[in-house]
Symmetry: C2
Subunit: 244 residues, 2 copies
Amino acid sequence: MALTPLLFVLHSRVIQPWLERCPSDEREPDKITEENPVILAGFGRFGHIVGRLLRANGVGCTVLETDPEQIELIARFGIKAYFGDATRAELLQSAGAAKAKIFISTIADTEKSVQLVKMIQKEFPHLHIFARAVDRQHATELLHAGVDNIVRETLSSALDLGVSALRDLGFRGVEALRAARIFKILDEKGLRELAVYSDDEKTYITHARQHIENLERVLQADHQRRAKEVADAGWEARAAEKED
Amino acid sequence: MALTPLLFVLHSRVIQPWLERCPSDEREPDKITEENPVILAGFGRFGHIVGRLLRANGVGCTVLETDPEQIELIARFGIKAYFGDATRAELLQSAGAAKAKIFISTIADTEKSVQLVKMIQKEFPHLHIFARAVDRQHATELLHAGVDNIVRETLSSALDLGVSALRDLGFRGVEALRAARIFKILDEKGLRELAVYSDDEKTYITHARQHIENLERVLQADHQRRAKEVADAGWEARAAEKED
């Protein structure tokens, strides 16, 4: 399909890696005219969902973005973001960081993201930090930096797709969702436990294999136990019917 | 080669040039020695979560991957993937596509992903297709191609992060999750409704703005209604206590 102008704009402005972008040194940061409990850095495909969810729940959110084109684009959709680089402490100061409660980083550039959270911890230690991680490696680096509230950007969606496929194969919705929930809990636990081995590839892989096998065992055992419960319930229902 | 004329054109104009750019594709595809209900293309950070969830639930999954290093890496974690390009119909044939039930594309290259699902629809029309979309634009293209089971790769994780932030700000867990669920349902609905305007930038933006505003209104109204219910329940509880 040929790319339509709009979709092309969306693609090139929202998707292009942040890595390729450098904030223009020439342009002064926007003057920030509001104070909110949440400061949100990055307003691409990830950040704009977070910001819109918060706003729709009545939570004010000051949005900082380094891509002028992205700021212009989202303004057309009726959403305000300020031009400014969140890694500059003085900009965060003017964004009301001293009075805010939460700082959310949705920056995909892993190096910049880790640098940013370290600066926040140093300059604004009262802020609760929430961070998007691009992958397991990035998440591990954020953990090492002392950030606890980390969301790996594709984990939940991959589980969503798995749940849809399981349902299509005949799994009951509640069972498929339960399996995904157990998977996620164990995978998050594994991420934390494996983080201590991140400097030692061989040990890391040995432990990761054990985690993967263990996760499979837990899910299979749970699946069998639940299947038995359902079968028992069916038997009991039939027995009850006979008694009637 | 038993390629239909259309596929031949596709192959010579699109796939072949791509193959020529990728030295790894000079390697012959692996011989596939299993038959499973699910064929999964792509086994990176997204695909491996899907594959592991399915396998842990006892669902066999034949995995195709074009990156030899990724295949080697995951083999070290005890997981098998075959080297092979899923866009080649004859490879899918040898992977048992004729007998499989589900095809899952987790390919992040949007152009290749759309090409792939179109080929599947033509060559293996019985397969239920599930696809990862990198972003809204990719999702729109997949919708236009007739794929219905689409998961945008960062949507759920962005909502997860939003839920954590809302809870940190004092929202009850059940309320934050409810808000995210409503957001997701309305956003998916919006994606489908807006897809028809994807050729007309101005109309698209007008309708998208309305969707965004409408979503906020619905969530705010729901939030207020729920808050009132909770307050009423509290009043009733206090009234009941007085009566005791």
